[in-house]
């Protein structure tokens, strides 16, 4: 008999409606699981046990009154990059180690309004800069499938928490793959929406033109449930798009007969782990069995994605992180001679090495004499990358690629060579640069039992299509539902 913590949102909602269980029971089950495995996984920075119990009690009262909303009583975890009123929000950094926001971000407000119970704030690479959740000031998160390996990043805590059943579902942010890559490495579903689909208000900014918030779930149906809650226009964000939100659940269970799927030839490169490549080829066969037809396509500027990204993102980040100066909130160094001394000591001690490295790259790329050669050039290449996708989507309904070139690597394996780490984002970065939505869905395991993910990409505001495709894939692939042994 599966524990409550092992169920999905939709399964739990069935039970809640049927009065077979209560939110209090579900929440207690999740916290029991947290107590059992958290010390090994370290998915969380801050647990919200007391408030979760209160919220669960209120949820049960609401259910008794017959007021069940989209997420009433369901325990959800939030990456520690979402501002939560009255609850410490650190962004994985020492420089915000004691910051308590006086406001909730828009997505947090929406989740609260939908009745969600928050379990806590999850671990992440500092300021979302990383692909392994190894740069957090609060320690490393481990991959529940193999505790000697990383869960992916930067939303590693949120992905691991779902994989380890330390929450029913969670949220992360994706700037260059930070939802999709950890989802693949942890064997869960992770979706990055179209840029402008989900409000960024309250999301601590890394790279403003690339950041998006998205869900981690155990299956595609839960993903659709969460997308229904968080998608939509927000007047508090200038880049939020007033595009209608469809009912994403309506896309579940529809078939994909006749769908045209593009397989970009540039994504099948030498560096891919052979087990990953095999799993992806199998996924291609699965979708063909489901009635879709796959054909090779070209995204000619793929090779330039990493370079363009690692100029644009650090440049925007260097500016976004200038506000962390010890003046109004967060960490401030002691014994400062004067203001300049305070700025330098605060920021040097407050930021970790990866953050400093990216601030340096970004500052350099924007500085006088280099702006045209770097930032402007990268922005032009970005336009071409977007055009590549628009071209392919003219006669493809979606694109299929591997999510990550390798399964989860060992802790410490890539920390000495930044360039190596950056190259592991090679399949996910393009979607952020072009602003299109992408989803990673489990597609198999390596011989040693590590999860592998397959990525689907679609055109702007085509999340419905992605959900339809992923749902059909999930049904036909019948990937064995294993659980990590913890």
């Amino acid at each position: 008999m599966t524990e409550l913590y092992g169920l999905t949102i939709h399964e739990l909602q069935d039970k809640l409606r049927a009065k077979e269980t209560t939110s209090a029971e579900i929440t207690a089950s999740v916290f029991k699981r947290i107590d059992a495995v958290e010390k090994e996984v370290h998915a969380y920075i801050t647990l919200m046990r007391e408030s979760a119990i209160e919220e669960a009690a209120r949820a049960d009262e609401a259910i008794l009154r017959g007021e069940m909303k989209a997420l009433t009583g369901i325990p959800i975890a939030l990456k520690d990059i979402f501002c939560t009123r009255g609850v410490r929000t650190t962004c994985g950094s020492r420089i915000l180690h004691n910051f308590i926001p006086p406001y909730d971000g828009t997505v947090v407000e929406k989740l609260r309004a939908a009745g969600a119970v928050f379990t806590g704030k999850t671990n992440m690479d500092e300021f979302a800069m990383g692909s392994s959740t190894e740069t957090s000031f609060f320690g490393v998160t481990r991959n529940p499938w193999d505790l000697t390996r990383i869960p992916g990043g930067s939303s590693g805590g949120s992905a691991a928490a779902v994989a380890a059943d330390e929450c029913i579902a969670s949220f992360g942010s994706d700037t260059g793959g930070s939802i999709r890559q950890p989802a693949a490495l942890c064997g869960v579903v992770g979706l990055k929406p179209t840029y402008g689909r989900v409000s960024r208000y309250g999301l601590i900014a890394f790279a403003s033109s690339l950041d998006q918030i998205g869900p981690f779930t155990k299956d595609v149906e839960d993903c659709a449930i969460l997308m229904n809650v968080i998608a939509g226009y927000d007047p508090r964000e200038s880049t939020s798009v007033p595009e209608d939100v469809p009912d994403y659940r309506a896309f579940l269970g529809r078939g994909i007969e006749g769908w045209r799927v593009g397989i970009p030839k540039e994504y099948f490169i030498d560096g891919i782990d052979p087990e990953v490549e095999a799993a992806i080829r199998e996924a291609i066969r699965v979708v063909e069995r489901a009635g879709a037809s796959c054909k090779e396509v070209s995204l000619p500027h793929t090779d330039y994605c990493v370079a363009a990204y690692y100029i644009v993102a650090p440049a925007e980040a260097s500016s976004n992180l200038a506000r962390y100066d010890g003046v109004r909130y967060g960490y401030r160094s002691e014994d400062n001679r004067d203001l300049l001394d305070m700025y330098k000591k605060t920021r040097s001690a407050g930021f970790g090495e990866e953050v400093k490295r990216r601030i340096m790259i970004g500052t350099y790329a924007l500085s006088s004499g280099y702006y045209d050669a770097y930032y402007r050039k990268a922005s032009q290449v970005r336009a071409l990358i977007k055009q590549d996708f628009e071209q392919v989507f003219k006669d493809c309904d979606c694109i299929l690629t591997p999510t990550s070139p390798t399964p989860a690597f060992k802790v410490g394996e890539k920390t000495d060579d930044p360039m190596q780490m950056y190259l592991s984002d090679i399949f996910t970065i393009s979607a952020n640069l072009a602003g299109i939505p992408g989803i990673s869905v489990p597609c198999g395991y390596t011989k040693s039992g590590l999860p592998i993910g397959v990525q689907f990409l679609a055109g702007h505001f085509q999340e419905g299509r992605l959900i339809q495709f992923a749902s059909a894939y999930e049904k036909h692939a019948k990937i064995e539902k294993r659980r990590p042994t913890l």
Partner: protein, 476 residues
């Protein structure tokens, strides 16, 4: 060596919107520190800016009033630097794509008019205030002012002297205040001016090295600072030296400019388009709407008053000091048909009453219609000019209509010739000596008789009628 000063001015004007440029906090001046702040203008993690539409409209008004070309699309940029009064570590401004360019204003100088070009106008956010503690090595930061909307107005280097600069400033100030988009208060910092000044030998074209002047907090100080700096640069050049390109601060007390010891390395602001804001597109329809709200500007109005109402230029100047005053005056003229007389009453008594009470024309208890009525009553002889003084004062004090006041005080002028003739006869009878003196040629005695008639009628007799009758009757 004769030098020609080449001066350009940069004005920052705080806009009179209710809310800040990117958030809903109030822009009201003088609040307790940090009581007009929110996560957005405090630069907290996770916040985002959304542009106040009124800021764009006010910018458009100024752009249209200064004959600028409004660009169809403009963007915001981040100007990156570190300072405690700049919470985000960058100022949101506009750099590569300003909304308005290539305008001009006309100003009056040395009895004529001169045109000064305006290079550009753009929108940006103000920074907070840093207050240095006198006793301790600390500073205090008040962020109420962060995010108050500004427009920056950059002139072409067309200004040729300190006096011209002051005239330009005054003209720009007048336009901003007239448009009601800025209150133009230099002391409170809602109108700020920096100057760029260089010299070149008279008759040459190449620009000399320029210095930037800051910290001039009044029109007078701008003029004094420029006068000083022009002299200083001339001195340096005459001595065979070269002017250093630098920023200099005006020291009001000492009357000199000081070089800012470079605590700043040359600023590298790393401008780039702000990814959190989207472009502003201004189409012809929007420009048309704003153009229609743009009323006549002070200089045009003054010229029209002189032309249309045939009043002296000085009077026109006083009457157009504010749009509200000009509107008041024109209403009185419309209802009375007497522009010169209306002008005298408005400039004289009405403004005097208001100044004594430190009130503005908007709070004037005398309605234009009432003043116009009073003028009509003088014109048709019901009351004398002298009586009107009393009436107007009563109108101001009580807000009552002139008709009511005249009735209450029994101030109706006596114009009945018959009655007056009778009175004059009596007086002449009582004063035969003076009659004889007058008839003998002593014209001054006429005044004595006028005085007697006024006494006898308690000042109510119509002076003109008295004059005519006396002349007739004294002639014999």
């Amino acid at each position: 060596m004769e030098y020609e000063p080449v001066i350009g001015l940069e004005i920052h004007a705080q806009l009179l919107t209710d809310a800040k440029i990117f958030c809903g906090c109030s822009t009201k001046f003088g609040a307790t520190p940090n009581t007009h702040t929110c996560p957005v203008c405090l630069g907290m993690p996770g916040v985002l800016p959304v542009l106040n539409k009124k800021v764009v409209e006010f910018m458009m008004k100024m752009a249209l009033a200064t004959h600028c070309r409004i660009n169809r699309e403009c963007n915001f940029a981040r100007k990156n630097y570190f300072y405690p009064d700049l919470p985000k570590g960058y100022q949101i401004s506009q750099y590569a794509s300003p909304p308005a360019e290539h305008g001009w204003i006309e100003m009056e100088i040395n009895g004529g008019k001169k045109r000064i070009g305006i290079t550009r106008i753009h929108m940006e956010e103000d920074a907070g205030k840093l207050l240095h503690d006198e006793h301790n090595p600390v500073s205090h930061v008040d962020l109420n002012r962060t995010g108050v909307p500004l427009i920056e107005i950059v002139s072409e280097p067309d200004i040729r002297g300190a006096e011209e600069a002051a005239a330009y400033l005054r003209r720009l100030h007048e336009i901003l205040v007239y448009l009601e988009i800025c209150d133009g208060n230099m002391e409170e910092g809602s109108f700020r001016c920096d100057a760029n000044v260089s010299l070149r030998p008279r008759g040459t074209e190449t620009f000399g090295t320029r210095t930037e002047l800051k910290n001039m907090n009044s029109f007078r100080n701008v003029q004094r600072a420029l006068e000083y700096e022009i002299k200083r640069q001339a001195y340096v050049l005459d001595a065979g030296g070269a002017v250093v390109q630098e920023t200099r601060l005006w020291d009001d007390t000492a009357g000199v400019t000081h070089s800012m010891r470079s605590k700043e390395e040359a600023h590298d602001y790393r401008y780039f388009p702000d990814p959190d804001l989207v472009p502003v597109v201004i189409d012809d329809a929007w420009i048309e709407t704003v153009l229609n709200t743009l009323l006549e500007l002070p200089l045009e109005k003054r010229d029209r008053f002189v032309r249309e109402y045939r009043i002296p230029s000085y009077d026109a100047g006083v009457l157009t000091a504010s749009r509200a005053l000009a509107d008041y005056y024109e209403e009185v003229v419309r209802l009375s048909g007497q522009p010169k007389i209306a002008g005298n009453w408005v400039m004289g008594d009405v403004l005097r009453f208001l100044n004594e009470d430190k009130k503005g024309i908007r709070d004037c208890p005398i309605a234009p219609a009432a003043l116009a009525e009073m003028i009509r009553l003088i014109q048709d002889g019901t009351i004398s000019g002298k009586m009107a003084k009393e009436v107007s004062e009563e109108m101001y004090r009580t807000g009552k209509a002139p008709g009511a006041i005249i009735k209450e005080k029994g101030l109706v002028q006596i114009t009945d010739e018959g009655a007056l003739a009778g009175t004059i006869s009596e007086i002449m009878g009582k004063n035969p000596a003076q009659v004889a003196q007058y008839r003998a040629g002593k014209e001054k005695v006429f005044g004595f008789f006028v005085g007697q008639v006024m006494k006898a009628t308690q000042g109510k007799a119509n002076p003109r009628v008295i004059n005519d009758l006396l002349k007739k009757m004294l002639a014999g």
